[in-house]
Symmetry: none
Subunit: 154 residues, 2 copies
């Protein structure tokens, strides 16, 4: 399973195209090469999954009973704002306009490698959440999450 890291800023042209960072491309599993699924994130950003990681998500979804009320709602709202993407011959993604609106991305997109997925942010939204988090509270958060015993669940 690939693990993405690092932050890369790229410009978005007036057709909504943005270059996929070369360094991230090296991390993508060659099987899934240039096939991705993009969707709304929980913060005002986008989540980008290479095909192989996305398939794990779909496996989970497939287990949900889509005739139960809760199941229907989960599946509908999860998949609604998801789309498959393919890199063009110049290694670019073309971002669906509804996702650019959602994430407030106009001319610049920031890619953040985040483990099995990649987050894509607009510079201003990224600033916003950065400012909400002081260094002190980050330290606390970090200890909360990373502290404690190393357990072996996976």
């Amino acid at each position: 399973m690939p693990s993405f890291k690092g932050q890369y800023e790229h410009s978005v042209d007036n057709k909504g195209r943005v270059a996929f960072p070369a360094k991230l491309r090296k991390t993508v599993n060659p099987d899934a090469q240039d096939r991705f699924t993009i969707l709304r994130g929980l913060e005002p950003c986008l989540y980008l999954y290479p095909q192989d990681s996305w398939e794990l998500v779909e496996k989970k979804l497939a287990k949900i009973n889509n005739f139960s009320r809760n199941g229907r709602t989960v599946i509908r709202n999860f998949l609604r704002f998801a789309e498959d993407l393919v890199l063009d011959k110049q290694n670019r993604l073309s971002l669906p306009s509804h996702l650019m609106d959602f994430s407030n991305i106009n001319t610049t997109a920031i890619f953040i490698g985040s483990g099995e997925r990649i987050e894509i942010w607009s510079p201003d939204k990224l600033d916003e959440i950065d400012n909400e988090l002081s260094f002190e509270s980050y330290q606390e958060l970090f200890e909360q999450v990373m502290g404690g015993d190393i357990d072996d669940e996976d």
Copy 2:
């Protein structure tokens, strides 16, 4: 098994015809290509199944005990408003008028890929249920699906 995703808005012409979204078409199993079953949904929307997915639904129905009163009621009301549809040569569906009435679809239809089936909504009904779902509960639903460890049970 195909897994539909994404949301696509199309206009319905005065003959009740609506284009089947090209991106969804790519997900349809070629075996079932252009043969569908459409029926009333559990919310005020329509469910559209490509032929191969529909067969799975029928298998489920076949397991229902139709000598029990509840069983008969479910089967009767599930199937009575179902119809087979075929795409025309322009890749359009023509929606039965009784289903347009039921779902309140007039001039615009919104397709939502929802796993093994596709939901078709009128814009106003979709707004209604969107307003029922707060961002917080969406977040919960999201974590329900994405959170936790990716396990490999199947």
